[in-house]
C-alpha cells in the first residue's frame, strides 16, 4: 500500500519543478527524522550517514529552488503533489529503521528511494508530450541515475552485515 505510484498532474515545466522540489524536501524531512532517531539512540555513525543524506537532498532542493526563480514552489507543490494515493517516491520507509541498523542498511534504504525517484522521473520523461517537460524530466533522470551510482559507491565502503545483525544479547523486551 505504501509503494503505490504517486498521482500527480504535471502540465508544465513549473509543475515538474514543484513536484521535484517536494520530493527533495520530503526526503530531507525523513532523513532528518532518522538522524534524530539515531542521535537519541546513540548511534553516531548512522547519525552522520543520515545527516549527510539529508544535506545532499537539501542541496538538490536548493538547486531546484534556484532553477525555479520566481515560481512559488511550496504552494504549487501543495496543489500538485499531495500524493493522496501513495507516497513521495524518494522517501525512505521510517518503519524499516532499527536501533541496531548499520550504515549499510541506511544506504540500502537510501538506494531504494533513489531508485524509486529514478523510476518516477523516467516515467514522466517517457510519457510527457510537452518537449520542455520531457527535456527537464530527462535531466532529472540523469541526476537520479547519478545518485543511484553514488549510493552504490558509498555502499562499497561498508561490508554487508551478517544475518545476525539484529540480535541483541540484552533486548529491550522485559517479559521474555
Amino acid at each position: 500500500m505504501t509503494k503505490a505510484p504517486p498521482e500527480h498532474t504535471v502540465s508544465s515545466p513549473a509543475d515538474l519543478l514543484a513536484v521535484a522540489y517536494r520530493i527533495e524536501t520530503d526526503a530531507v524531512q525523513r532523513y532528518t527524522l532518522l538522524a534524530d532517531q539515531m542521535e537519541t539512540h546513540n548511534n553516531p555513525e548512522l547519525v552522520k550517514v543520515f545527516r549527510d543524506l539529508a544535506r545532499a537532498e537539501g542541496i538538490h532542493a536548493d538547486e531546484i529552488r534556484k532553477q525555479a526563480g520566481d515560481i512559488e514552489l511550496v504552494a504549487r507543490s501543495q496543489r500538485l503533489s499531495r500524493w493522496q494515493k501513495g507516497e513521495s517516491p524518494e522517501e525512505v520507509d521510517l518503519g524499516s529503521a532499527h536501533y541496531l541498523m548499520t550504515p549499510w542498511h541506511a544506504l540500502e534504504l537510501a538506494l531504494a528511494g533513489e531508485k524509486r525517484a529514478l523510476g518516477f522521473f523516467t516515467s514522466i520523461a517517457e510519457t510527457a508530450k510537452d518537449p520542455k517537460i520531457k527535456e527537464m524530466a530527462s535531466e532529472f533522470v540523469e541526476e537520479e541515475a547519478e545518485h543511484v551510482n553514488l549510493v552504490y559507491r558509498l555502499m562499497r565502503k561498508y561490508s554487508k552485515p551478517a544475518d545476525t545483525w539484529a540480535q541483541d544479547p540484552d533486548p529491550p523486551i522485559s517479559q521474555d
Binding site: M1, Q29, W83, G86, E87, P172, D176
Partner: protein
C-alpha cells in the same frame, strides 16, 4: 469547517518543533508525526490557533514535537481537557492524540462520551495493540492469544472494537489509517479536521519493539473497498465484518456538532484571584 484559522504558511516543516522525538527507531508514531505536520500544512492551519492535546503513553508525546500549542495531560483524560478547551475556545482547531491504552482503557469512558457529545474536534488514536511505554502489557485491543510472560497463554479476552463503539456512541466521522502510509494518513486527517463534529481516526501504528510482528502490517493493510457511508448501521456492519486492515474513511455523519448555548464570560484576572483566595 468555517471556524478553522488558516494562514498561507504551507510547509510541513513549519509545524515541527525543535524537540527530537525519543520513540524507538521504526516506531509508527514517527510517521504519524509526519502526517500531522503534512495535514496541518495542507489545511494551512495557524500554529497559534491550533492545539494538540494528549494523555500519557508513547503516542501522547506528540504535542511536544509539533510547533502548535500543546497540552500533555493526565492519563486517559485528554478528551476531557480537549472538550473543555474547544467549548470555551471554539475558534481553535483542536486535535487530540492518544494510544490504545490511554484512549480505550484508562480513558475509555471519556471516549464514549466525547463521541456522544460530538464536540467539533479530531481524535487520533495510535493503536499498536500493546502498552509500549510500560514494556509490553496487553491493551484493550490486544489479540486474545498474545502469549508473553506478562500474559501467559494470552488474555483470552475479545479485543475492544473502537470503530464500532465510536459509531454506536455517536462519533460523526470514523476512519482507519495506517502509519506507514503517512501521506494517505495526512489526507484522512485533513478530511477529519474539516468534518464538523467529533472525528475519530484510528491509526494502526506498529510498536516494533514489543510487537515486532506488527512490522508485517504494511503487507496486510489495503484500501477500504467501498466509499464512506453516512448510514451508521451500514458502516457498523462493514466494520464488524472487515479484517481490521481496511484503510480509509468509513463513515461521515451529519449530526450537528455540540455548541455551548451560553456565551463564555470573560473573567477579570483580579476577580479570579479573589475567587480562589484562601
Amino acid at each position: 469547517m468555517s471556524s478553522i484559522q488558516t494562514r498561507l504558511t504551507c510547509n510541513p516543516a513549519d509545524y515541527k518543533s525543535d524537540i527530537k522525538p525519543i520513540w524507538c527507531p521504526g516506531c509508527g508514531d514517527y510517521h504519524v508525526l509526519l502526517s500531522f505536520t503534512r495535514a496541518f500544512a495542507e489545511l494551512g492551519l495557524a500554529p497559534e490557533k491550533t492545539v494538540v492535546v494528549s494523555g500519557i503513553g508513547c503516542s501522547s508525546r506528540i504535542p511536544a514535537y509539533t510547533n502548535c500549542y500543546g497540552f500533555h495531560g493526565v492519563h486517559g483524560r485528554s478528551l476531557a481537557l480537549a472538550t473543555g478547551l474547544k467549548v470555551t475556545r471554539p475558534d481553535l482547531t483542536v486535535v487530540v492524540a492518544s494510544g490504545d491504552g490511554d484512549g480505550y482503557s484508562i480513558g475509555g469512558n471519556h471516549f464514549l462520551h466525547a463521541c456522544r457529545r460530538n464536540v467539533d474536534m479530531t481524535y487520533v488514536v495510535m493503536d499498536n495493540r500493546v502498552y509500549g511505554m510500560t514494556k509490553g502489557q496487553p491493551s484493550p485491543t490486544t489479540e486474545p492469544d498474545f502469549d508473553t510472560a506478562l500474559s501467559p497463554g494470552g488474555t483470552g479476552l475479545s479485543p475492544f472494537h473502537p470503530l464500532v463503539i465510536a459509531l454506536a456512541a455517536g462519533a460523526n466521522f470514523v476512519a482507519r489509517a495506517f502509519s506507514g502510509a503517512p501521506n494517505e494518513t495526512a489526507s484522512i486527517l485533513v478530511e477529519a479536521i474539516r468534518h464538523p463534529g467529533f472525528s475519530f481516526v484510528e491509526v494502526l501504528s506498529p510498536c516494533v519493539t514489543f510487537r515486532p510482528d506488527e512490522r508485517e502490517w504494511k503487507n496486510l493493510v489495503h484500501p477500504a473497498p467501498v466509499a464512506a457511508t453516512n448510514d451508521p448501521g451500514k458502516a457498523a456492519r462493514r466494520i464488524m465484518t472487515d479484517d481490521g486492515f481496511n484503510i480509509g474513511i468509513l463513515y461521515r455523519g451529519n449530526r450537528r456538532p455540540y455548541q455551548a448555548k451560553v456565551e463564555s464570560r470573560t473573567i477579570d484576572l483580579a476577580e479570579l484571584e479573589r475567587e480562589f483566595e484562601l
